[in-house]
């Protein structure tokens, strides 16, 4: 736009402005768009010429001379659903006209005056000074005075701080407490009384190390640590949102995660597979499949697949991915930068849209149903060895489908005494959609006009008739209440053309699909044409088939029902189709996975986060502040950039990736992170209590080839991990310095798994699909499994009650730190739920059958013998029941122990 176009205007124009425009601005716009506004909206001033010329967040408000190109005009005429102004009352039509004329005359505006500019200034260099963006560096081990206390390097960092703060560490945990702790921490289950006995009897110095190594090698380890990782990857087996779609193949990702932790897959490999598993090189189909399943991470998020605004839906998906990736791997809250530069962290909006370009160039959704507008999730077939067999089944299925469709269509159509032209042979103008939603139809399907393009869309049926004589013309349609009542049908016959209308909302009188258009004479030398038009219709128009028959030979009375033979054959074919399709599904598994999009391109900045408000393009890229100068990777033109993003995140020099992961592991073992806000390493997160220890662990982690098991081993073998949880020094009430063990809560899964183990109801089956008899949505799912909790279907809108009550993570959010509440609903669950009562009954039965003692039940449930006072209290309680109610007494005792604090907490 050239400045010379802007002018104050001549006398007459100024008069127009003063009469019609200024009052309008003052009355309707100044409240929010002037220097006097209480709160300026969208950074737009309309109280000076310069104001609208520069415009607000969305750019210039007026293009002089071009009302159609002017945002302001669109806003006031409500042509754009995202921007309707004034927000409360639409302007009168006359006022809109005044504005239009004024803009058309060049928007002459005598109002001088300058506007303030507020430009964003994010100082990336300054941002890099923040601790978490600083490179990870090796620190010399700190000096301590009491070196006898140390077991490994970790203890040096911990003790040095304690000594400098003059806080005495707690004593060592008892062997019983330690064994219960390590069992729950590593495998999520308690030691059996036998395992406890063995450990207590082993007095060798490496007794504990032996247990640790055994536990790390058990398959339950992956189930325990896989569950932690599922929290962080906001895993769920349904979409959440309005219609919460079930993800029937999400279990593959769950099993993949469990397997990855059991195999001790290097963490950087796991991250790469999550971000770009579909793009990584592979040397076997098994490897390809595993990597592909890993990339499901990107498409497992919570999304309202029902959103009808597809452009918005796509962008919401991208936002979810950016936000999740930021938190899972980097501990960064990137979502803030969607609408404006991050207010706290040095992340400009352009960084956000650099990442957005990567995910916009990724296919993350399936096609879904055109009819309901509900989109589907993205899946990719897994590599399989039996390609040929599948190809064969596919072909048979296609042929079966054709046969069924033909049979299902107006069943007697073939016996029509005349000439039939199906929609597959029609000459179409405009876009027609094929459908089989409403029965019946002729041939494979029928066509409809989508109720759009009225007047433009036409379907022509042409043939050459064998004789010159009269034919009756029949027009076929599938009736329905949303069909047009006045569909024009034009018949080109020997004597010219005739147009009649047919009512497609009414049932078709002949054989369920045909309506007669009348009898006309045709010549065998001239093509006979029937045109179905959409002109003047306001509902759906159907084009299915046209028939020319001997006049009067087919009467409306003939039944449209299929004959007995046809029905039987149809049933047979349908059964065959069903079983073959099921077979194919088994043979050809799919997994949820993204793919590169058809179009790979940089994305636009969306001003104020609004999808249709596009600003400049930004090249695909990463987060500037976390990139070391010179280290930026280039994204090739034909790559979405996911592969490059994965490499960038897993670069050992990345300041966040290794720190964030070692901090997560530390948190799961010690109860709190070194950075307590484990998902937030930004300005608004907490600072590390032991920054040097964090770096020390991060360096060891990357040097150990990102081995999670090695790091866990190192931490649990430290003296720090093995301290007692007893408070001995009141100077550090929050235990920020790890001078004692944090008392941890038993999570929902650990409570349930332990209860089922003790009652003998635990189903030890591992892996595989676990959703049974689910419909399309997770609504009211009936949970009926006694398998380990990680194998219980994990839905977004419907959860097993015990999970909900005991703080299972909200699977819509990345949760590295579950909340730990003491709500009365938990107490009600333990006191009154049928689940706890039933399991207690079963436990009591087992115990009584085995002639168990009070000590046995304490060993079994609390992994320790009763104290003296507990023993007395328990004896008194049992004695209060008559001898014939011992089974009830033991049931209540079991239930009570499940409700005690010593069961629910890990010392």
């Amino acid at each position: 736009m050239s400045g010379s176009l802007l002018r104050a205007g001549d006398q007459e124009e100024i008069e127009y402005f003063e009469t019609h425009i200024r009052p309008l601005f003052v009355e309707h716009c100044y409240e929010c768009h002037s220097a006097d506004a209480k709160k300026l909206k969208a950074n737009l001033y309309l109280d000076s010429r310069a104001g609208w010329q520069t415009g607000g967040d969305s750019g210039p408000a007026i293009i002089p001379g071009k009302p159609e190109d002017s945002l302001l005009f669109h806003a006031v005429s409500h042509t754009n659903g995202d921007l309707e102004m004034p927000p409360k009352n639409r302007l009168a039509d006359s006022e809109v006209e005044y504005l239009k004329s004024w803009i058309a005359m060049g928007a002459p505006d005598p109002r001088e005056g300058k506007i303030k500019h507020s430009t964003s200034t994010i100082d990336i260099e300054k941002g890099r000074q923040f601790w978490s963006f600083q490179p990870v560096v090796a620190h010399t081990l700190p000096r301590v005075s009491d070196t006898t206390w140390l077991v490994n390097d970790i203890d040096r960092f911990i003790l040095a701080r304690l000594e400098s703060e003059q806080i005495a560490p707690a004593g060592d945990a008892s062997k019983t407490a330690l064994l219960r702790r390590i069992y729950f921490d590593l495998i999520g289950l308690p030691p059996s009384p036998g395992e406890m006995k063995t450990f207590l009897a082993d007095t060798s110095p490496d007794a504990f190390a032996k247990v640790v190594d055994q536990l790390l090698a058990r398959p339950e380890f992956g189930e325990r640590w896989g569950r932690h990782w599922l929290d962080v990857t906001r895993f769920a087996e349904s979409s959440g949102g309005g219609r919460s779609l079930v993800f029937p193949d999400a279990w593959r990702f769950r099993d993949y995660v469990i397997d990855s932790f059991n195999r001790d897959k290097p963490y950087h490999q796991l991250v790469r597979e999550h971000l770009a598993g579909d793009l990584l090189p592979h040397s076997s189909p098994a490897q390809r499949n595993s990597q592909l399943i890993g990339s499901g991470y990107l498409v497992l998020g919570a999304l309202n697949y029902e959103l009808q605004d597809h452009e918005l839906l796509k962008m919401e998906f991208v936002d979810e991915q950016i936000d999740t990736v930021g938190r899972t791997f980097l501990g960064m809250t990137l979502g803030c930068a969607r609408c404006h530069d991050h207010k706290f962290d040095p992340i400009p909006t352009s960084d956000y849209y650099a990442l957005a370009g990567i995910f916009q160039s990724t296919r993350s959704m399936g096609k879904g149903s055109a009819a309901s507008g509900v989109t589907s999730f993205a899946t990719t077939p897994l590599e399989i060895s039996n390609r040929e067999e599948i190809e064969k089944i596919r072909n048979s299925l296609a042929s079966l489908k054709d046969q069924i469709a033909t049979l299902r269509s107006s069943p007697d159509a073939k016996q029509l005494p005349g000439i039939l032209i199906d929609s597959t042979e029609a000459k179409l103008t405009g876009i027609w959609r094929e459908s089989t939603s409403n029965k019946p139809w002729i041939g494979r399907s029928y066509l409809h006009d989508e109720n759009t393009g009225k007047g433009e869309k036409m379907a022509g049926f042409t043939t050459t008739l064998p004789e010159t004589k009269d034919y009756e013309v029949l027009v076929s349609y599938s009736p329905g209440s949303n069909r047009a009542e006045n569909v024009p049908v034009t018949i080109h016959h020997a004597k010219g053309e005739t147009t009649i209308t047919i009512d497609q909302s009414k049932p078709a009188p002949i054989r369920g699909t045909f309506s007669s258009a009348g009898t006309f004479s045709f010549s065998k030398d001239k093509p006979a044409t029937v045109i179905i038009s959409t002109e003047g219709t306001t509902a759906h128009v159907i084009a299915d088939a046209v028939a020319f028959i001997e006049p009067g030979t087919v009467t409306p009375k003939v039944s449209p029902k299929p004959g007995k033979d046809t029905a039987e054959q149809l049933k047979k074919l349908e059964n065959e189709h069903k079983s073959l399709a099921a077979k194919l599904k088994k043979l050809q598994p799919v997994t949820m996975a993204p793919d590169e999009a058809d179009t790979i391109a940089d994305g636009h900045i969306h001003i104020r986060g609004q999808v249709r408000n596009k600003g400049p393009k930004v090249p695909r890229g990463f987060i500037t502040v976390a990139t070391q100068p010179g280290a930026s990777a280039r994204i090739p033109e034909d790559h979405s950039g996911r592969l490059e993003l994965a490499k960038w995140i897993t670069d050992p020099r990345h300041p966040l990736t290794s720190r964030v992961m070692v901090n997560r592991i530390w948190k799961y073992l010690l109860g709190e992170g070194i950075v307590r806000t484990v998902d937030n390493f930004g300005e608004t997160g907490e600072l590390p209590s032991h920054p040097k220890l964090l770096d020390h662990l991060a360096i060891q982690f990357t040097e150990d080839n990102w081995s999670v098991k090695s790091l866990i081993r190192k931490i649990v073998l430290s003296r720090t991990y093995q301290l007692s949880s007893q408070i001995t020094d009141n100077n550090d009430p929050e235990n920020r310095l790890f001078g004692r063990a944090n008392r941890k809560r038993l999570e929902a899964e650990a409570i349930r798994d332990t209860v089922l183990r003790i009652s003998g109801q635990f189903d030890p089956t591992r892996g595989g699909p676990t959703i049974r008899k689910a419909g399309q949505y997770d609504l009211n799912y009936k949970f009926d499994s006694n398998r380990r909790s990680i194998y219980v279907p994990w839905f977004r809108n419907s959860m097993l009650p015990i999970f909900e009550v005991f703080d299972a993570p909200n699977p819509n959010l990345v949760m590295g730190r579950r909340s730990t509440t003491n709500l009365p609903t938990q107490a009600l669950f333990l006191m009154n739920s049928p689940f706890i009562r039933e399991q207690s009954q079963l436990t009591a039965k087992r115990l009584l059958a085995g002639k168990a003692t009070i000590t046995d039940i304490y060993q079994l449930i609390l992994s320790r013998p009763p104290s003296e006072s507990e023993l007395t209290t328990t004896q008194t309680f049992l004695a209060s029941f008559p001898p014939d109610e011992q089974s009830e007494a033991w049931t209540q005792l079991t239930q009570t122990l499940f409700a005690t604090v010593d069961f629910r907490f890990i010392d």
Partner: protein, 464 residues
């Protein structure tokens, strides 16, 4: 004979003594549920939300459009909002209201014959005819109505309100939802999302079950008589105290306290949900005992009992578990009559009861669906969703009685004057509760969130 709960309460001295509620969340010393002063002068202390799931038709009920009657059968241009038709123009046929409208009360507000009972209360109602909202399908719009977001995970309005105001009865949850549906977002519609868990809505029953069976999950112990349970409870707390004694850990004490609270809740809450002590006259005022109005009548009466006892946000759902929620008449508009009948007398009974008990003063009653319906027909006799313009009404809690705010265009399709977006309605209701919607924020994952996102204006025009 076993003592009943009330006798038991007296004999065991299990009153509402000092409760260490502050310890319920484990960390931090302040009680998140203690009543808070809202900051602004409050006109309402609590909300009763009568949720009409599926989208009742405004042009057939409260939004009188003579032009629509006059132009019945005419075609109009309509720009599509659904995915298939997004932005495309098509022609639709206007369908006049199926029920006759009449003016009612001193205020002369128009109500159709769908709601004969509610019509008697128009002088207490504040109609908003210019509502508009986000989303076109039920899921997104229902989530938007409850949480101010169509897709992203956000706390429900009831959670925000208890977060802002606490609760006046520590033995009851602050936010309850009576017979919610599991569909259309389900639990997300009463979820605390990232707010502390104590602000989550507590369900009483669920959609699809009879209201006479509606209760809080695990509230009753079905396997033990009261005195047996009390013995077991004392045993448990004895063991707990022995275990916690030497450990001196406030988290353990909090867990023990939560058992005391749960036991008190178990003793008290069932009485509140038990309608048998209400008089026959009261019950029949709500339509209880009549087959068609029994369910919603019971729900409404339960709402009044909860309101009386200081529950902050009470949602009374008229919903079910189907893909097409109750008011969703894409075809067969005459079916609206069934739903109107099921809710009309119960809602009118609630209004009357609140009024005669002086509760309407400071109780904000909110009636509405996630959107309205189109003035043109879908198929032969249905109407499609309409988020562009619809009616909601409020009563009590400082709203203007007998008032009508804003309007849709002459046929009732789009809100045109004094338009009120759902964010504006949220902001205004918070304002009536004394809460500034721009300052009721919660810092999560690095930024402050609020119910109204970055939008919403308080509409002072509807405040008395």
């Amino acid at each position: 004979m076993l003592p009943n709960r009330r006798q038991f309460l007296k004999s065991s001295g299990c009153g509402f003594g000092s409760l260490a509620l502050s310890s319920l969340l484990g960390q931090g010393a302040t009680n998140p549920l203690s009543p808070k002063s809202p900051g602004l002068p409050a006109r309402a202390k609590r909300v009763i939300f009568l949720f009409m799931a599926g989208g009742p038709s405004h042009v057939d009920s409260f939004d009188y459009k003579p032009e629509l009657i006059k132009r019945d059968g005419q075609t109009i241009d309509f720009v599509g909002v659904r995915k298939n038709t997004f932005g495309k123009k098509s022609q639709r046929k206007l369908l006049k209201p199926l029920w006759d409208f009449k003016q009612h009360g001193q205020s002369g507000r128009w109500v159709s014959s769908l709601f004969p009972h509610i019509a008697k209360h128009v002088d207490d109602l504040c109609f908003i005819h210019s509502m508009h909202t986000e989303g076109v399908a039920h899921g997104p719009s229902t989530l938007f109505l409850h949480t101010g977001a169509t897709n992203l995970v956000r706390p429900s309005m009831g959670s925000w309100v208890t977060y802002g105001l606490g609760t006046e009865n520590e033995n009851l949850p602050g936010f309850v939802t009576i017979m919610p549906s599991a569909s259309k977002g389900g639990p997300r519609n009463y979820s605390n999302a990232f707010l502390p868990a104590i602000h989550q809505g507590t369900c009483i029953g669920r959609a699809g079950l009879p209201a006479s069976q509606a209760t809080i999950r695990n509230l009753n112990n079905s396997h033990l008589a009261l005195n047996s349970q009390s013995k077991q409870f004392n045993f448990l707390q004895q063991l707990n105290r022995q275990q916690a004694q030497i450990k001196n850990d406030q988290n353990l004490n909090a867990a023990i306290d939560s058992f005391d609270l749960a036991f008190r809740m178990q003793m008290n809450a069932p009485d509140i949900l038990d309608l048998s002590e209400e008089s026959e006259a009261t019950k029949s005022m709500y339509g209880i005992g009549e087959k068609s109005t029994d369910d919603y009548g019971r729900q409404c009466l339960m709402a009044r009992r909860l309101a009386e006892r200081g529950v902050r946000f009470i949602q009374v759902n008229y919903s079910d578990e189907s893909v097409n929620p109750r008011w969703d008449q894409h075809s067969n508009m005459p079916k609206h009559k069934v739903h109107a009948h099921a809710t009309d007398q119960p809602v009118a009974g609630l209004l009357q009861d609140l009024k005669q008990r002086g509760l309407l003063e400071d109780t904000l009653v909110w009636w509405g669906g996630e959107f309205g319906r189109t003035p043109f027909s879908q198929g032969k006799d249905g109407r499609d969703h309409n988020p562009r313009g619809f009616t909601t009404w409020l009563a009590g809690g400082g709203t203007k009685p007998g008032y009508a705010h804003g309007s849709t265009d002459e046929v009732g399709d789009t809100a045109v004057t004094d338009r009120l977006h759902m964010h504006d309605l949220h902001a205004t209701m918070l304002h009536l509760l004394g809460l500034d919607h721009e300052r009721l924020t919660y810092n999560y994952a690095g930024r402050d969130f609020r119910l109204t996102d970055v939008a919403g204006n308080v509409e002072h025009g509807i405040i008395a």
